[in-house]
């Protein structure tokens, strides 16, 4: 039909329009645009927003949320979910402090011991999901609960003081005015980008999340991919704990990690990661984290009652999920 009536426009007009359409359909683009818009608006509204101190503060926040958001996203890409990342980060803060102060281990060893424990927990998640066919939601919810309990059991609600200066050196220092945690986060983000976009194992992660049966019949060992993503997610929670500990200077469990898994999931979804698995890119995930941070920080800068923060964040998440749904619906109507 179209060939009959519009042979000219087909040759001349379709390609740019297609490109525009594919740009609009790329979920990352919307988030990046939103980040820029929110940033500019806030910077115009309050000149304190874009000053160096506030930007640096946002950098520290971004690193701690961003690390677990990347881990969370890797799990979501395989078609799973990891509810334990926040609680595990909180527990890791306490574990590092305990190993360092109470057990008297050097900072590096305390760190490695904690990473070993979180890695094993991730391994358990992966095996439970793949071999025992347990729902990821349930497996990681158990860890979430137990991890919170362990944190309380170790500290009895108090803080562990006297941690090594090593942590502060990492968690509070700057390199050319840039917070070191932010640099570490950038390195992890680039590594994750490289893994997903430039290695065949990364491609297989997408395949497993997108269509597990097709991946299996194409000779991909999906179980291994899934297990390794759960391990990575837990390791990143342990790694993030080191930055948080350094920033706080004491091993305290109050307010650390609680609810951060929801922040991480929100960042992933806002960044275009599909909760059914197989879709999403690092650029979007990072942009999603940035957007959440800009909004949280912006509300503070605007001196809006912090009790309203979650309402706004929830609204943004709702819009993102709606947009994701509409995109998926649009796609399936074309297929």
């Amino acid at each position: 039909m179209t060939t009959q009536t519009t042979p000219v426009t087909k040759g001349a007009g379709v390609t740019p329009r297609r490109r525009l359409r594919s740009l609009v359909e790329t979920p990352e683009v919307g988030v990046v645009v939103a980040c820029v818009a929110v940033f500019v608006a806030l910077a115009l509204a309050r000149d304190t927003f874009a000053n160096a101190v506030n930007l640096q503060g946002m950098g520290f926040d971004l690193a701690q949320y961003g690390l677990i958001a990347i881990g969370e996203s890797l799990v979501i890409l395989t078609g799973g979910i990891d509810l334990s990342v926040g609680a595990l980060l909180g527990t890791s803060v306490i574990l590092i402090s305990w190993f360092n102060v109470r057990a008297g281990l050097p900072a590096g060893v305390a760190m490695l011991a904690t990473l070993a424990i979180t890695g094993l927990i991730g391994l358990w998640h992966g095996i439970a999901v793949t071999r025992l066919k347990m729902p990821p939601f349930v497996v990681t919810l158990v860890t979430y609960t137990v991890a919170q309990g362990v944190t309380l059991a170790i500290t009895s609600g108090t803080s562990i003081v006297g941690i090594s200066g090593f942590f502060g050196d990492i968690g509070q220092s700057y390199l050319a005015q840039i917070p070191v945690p932010l640099i570490l986060f950038a390195i992890v983000a680039v590594a994750a980008w490289f893994f997903l976009e430039r290695t065949f194992v990364g491609r297989q992660v997408y395949a497993v999340g997108g269509n597990p049966e097709a991946a299996r019949l194409a000779g991909i060992r999906g179980d291994r991919r899934i297990v390794s993503m759960y391990v990575t997610s837990s390791l990143l929670a342990g790694f993030g704990a080191m930055l948080v500990l350094g920033r706080m200077g004491v091993g305290s469990a109050s307010g650390v990690g609680v609810g951060w898994e929801l922040q991480a999931i929100a960042a992933a979804v806002i960044g275009g990661v599909s909760l059914t698995g197989g879709q999403g890119r690092i650029l979007g995930i990072v942009a999603g984290t940035v957007l959440l941070e800009l909004i949280t920080n912006g509300l503070t800068t605007l001196q809006i009652n912090s009790n309203y923060t979650n309402i706004v964040l929830g609204g943004v998440l709702g819009i993102a999920i709606l947009a994701d749904r509409l995109r998926a619906k649009h796609f399936s109507s074309r297929a």
């Binding site: 430039r198 297989q204 997408y206 097709a214």
Partner: protein, 525 residues
């Protein structure tokens, strides 16, 4: 108690169902074209036909799940609103499906009365109907099961825990419980043992004796002969024969189903068979399969024919390591071959084009490029790292080699037509350079032009020395492209025919298991 008609004699009431000018088309393809068909009260009408003859569409149209493109359907004189299963049910059509839509987590009783109230609740007031009438439901479920001849089931057990034959019986009881005028049975005995099968046939007779009409989709011709008051044969969506029980001999039914024999010469595959054995299977068994003995030579195209559930896909999946084997030996190129995961099979040089493209082959939302290179990615990477453009080059070659029509390699493969999607899947494996290619329904959902291209691809692959094992429900397709056809029934190979001896009748007879199989199963029983 189960009187369908009030008291008048059945014949005076007119037909139970009438189809007039009913046509169903998907795009340019007409899958059903019935000018006129009456289902009379008190009659068991059997429908037979090959796969794709239009049997399912006919049932779907009658039960309201498929809305016909044109035509009208009258149930007891009232017009059925097309595409309205609930309306069909209200008019008295009950369909017993082959794949049971039972709710596994609910109890037997709850499933049996799904979507309606128990009699007691129905008679009670409005308030009572809001509540779930537990005891009434159980009571009625027990009566219903006793009525269809199933005893000793605890009606409180979740359906999911019951074995398949019992679930089939529950599905039948559920259809029966709707007090239908027209009872549609879709190959009801295919999952049943002889005792249950006899009960179902008895039930069908009882239904017609009470003035109801039965539409019975049969796959076992001996059973059809046994029960039919009338046999309707479908071929290519058309009603080609309407036979009395006397006329409906097995030979006659097969002849009508098959139609005129194809000339074998057109499209015969080039001779490419060599003497080198690629695949050798000895007493291979798996759940629902075997023991199977099979040998494939390099350059040989072997077809696997058989009815639904005969084990065609299972054979391919077991060879691929996608389904655990329970016994037997396989060799690939003379070396022992025991894949525990499809990855092992791929590494050894086996490729599988699965039956269901959307569910088993494709990453629908991802680019053509990703889909094309899924099996060659490791090989094309540098120590696991994909060079920018590395897989782009491979996928470019794949889409060029196979003539995939598309805008760009970066567009989601879900946007392509079925034929082009399938060509990408073929290219995925051909470029992996396998020795053995397993094809499951290679041309399902593919238009005629792409079909011919896919046949050509298979011929070329065989000439390059690949061994090809192809399962298909389209007999024409196998007759056309294979050097040899093995026929499966109930998980075993029951016939092995070289091209010189290809005959549709013989394959159908073996697949339906009327002679060779009954002899075979008696011998092993």
């Amino acid at each position: 108690m189960r009187e369908v008609t009030s008291n008048a004699s059945p014949t005076r009431l007119g037909p139970a169902a009438v189809l007039r000018g009913v046509q169903k088309s998907y795009g340019p393809v007409t899958v059903l074209d019935i000018p006129e068909l009456e289902l009379k009260r008190g009659q068991i009408t059997c429908v037979v036909g090959e796969n794709g003859a239009g049997k399912s569409t006919l049932m779907g149209v009658l039960s309201g799940t498929v809305s016909p493109t044109t035509g009208e359907i009258l149930i007891a004189g009232q017009a059925l609103q097309p595409g309205r299963p609930d309306h069909a049910k209200a008019l008295g059509v009950s369909m017993v499906a082959q794949e049971f839509p039972l709710v596994g987590g609910l109890s037997v009783a709850e499933n049996l009365l799904l979507g309606r109230h128990s009699r007691a609740a129905e008679q009670a007031g409005r308030l009572r109907r809001v509540l779930f009438d537990r005891s009434g439901t159980r009571q009625e479920a027990r009566e219903l099961l006793a009525d269809v001849g199933v005893d000793g089931i605890d009606v409180d057990r979740p359906v999911g825990q019951l074995p398949v034959p019992l679930r089939q019986m529950i599905e039948i009881a559920k259809g029966w419980g709707n007090h239908p005028l027209v009872l549609i049975l879709d190959e009801p005995t295919s999952s049943l043992g002889p005792v249950e099968a006899a009960k179902v046939l008895h039930l069908a007779r009882r239904h017609t004796a009470n003035g109801g009409a039965v539409l019975f989709i049969g796959h076992r011709l001996d059973e059809v002969r046994d029960i039919a008051d009338r046999v309707v044969v479908l071929r290519g969506g058309q009603l080609v024969a309407d036979l009395t029980p006397e006329e409906a001999t097995e030979e006659r039914m097969i002849r009508e189903m098959v139609g005129s024999e194809l000339a074998h010469s057109d499209g015969a595959p080039p001779v490419s068979r060599t003497d080198r054995t690629v695949l050798l299977a000895r007493s291979l068994t798996a759940d629902g399969l075997g023991p199977v003995d099979l040998e494939l030579k390099a350059g040989e195209i072997v077809g696997v024919a058989g009815l639904m559930g005969s084990g065609r896909s299972r054979l391919l999946h077991t060879i691929m390591g996608a389904q655990p084997r329970t016994g037997g030996e396989t060799e690939l190129n003379g070396r022992p071959f025991r894949p525990r995961h499809p990855a092992d099979a791929v590494a050894a040089g086996v490729g599988l084009v699965p039956e269901d493209r959307k569910e088993q082959s494709l990453l629908l939302q991802h680019p053509v490029r990703w889909n094309a290179t899924l099996a060659t990615l490791r090989r094309d990477s540098w120590h696991g790292v994909l060079t920018p453009g590395g897989d782009k080059e491979r996928s470019q070659r794949i889409v060029q080699d196979l003539g995939v029509r598309m805008h760009s390699q970066e567009q989601p493969i879900g946007d392509l037509s079925g034929g082009n999607q399938q060509k990408v899947v073929f290219g995925r494996w051909l470029h992996a350079g396998p020795d053995l290619l397993l094809l499951d329904e290679p041309t399902r959902g593919v238009d005629v032009g792409a079909k011919a291209e896919i046949y050509q691809l298979i011929d070329n692959a065989a000439q390059d020395g690949l061994a090809v094992l192809v399962a298909s429900s389209e007999l024409e397709e196998l007759l056309r492209m294979c050097h040899r056809i093995v026929v499966m029934a109930q998980g075993r190979i029951v016939a092995d025919l070289p091209r010189e001896h290809f005959s549709k009748e013989q394959i159908m007879t073996a697949a339906a298991g009327t002679q060779s199989l009954t002899a075979g199963s008696e011998a092993t029983a």
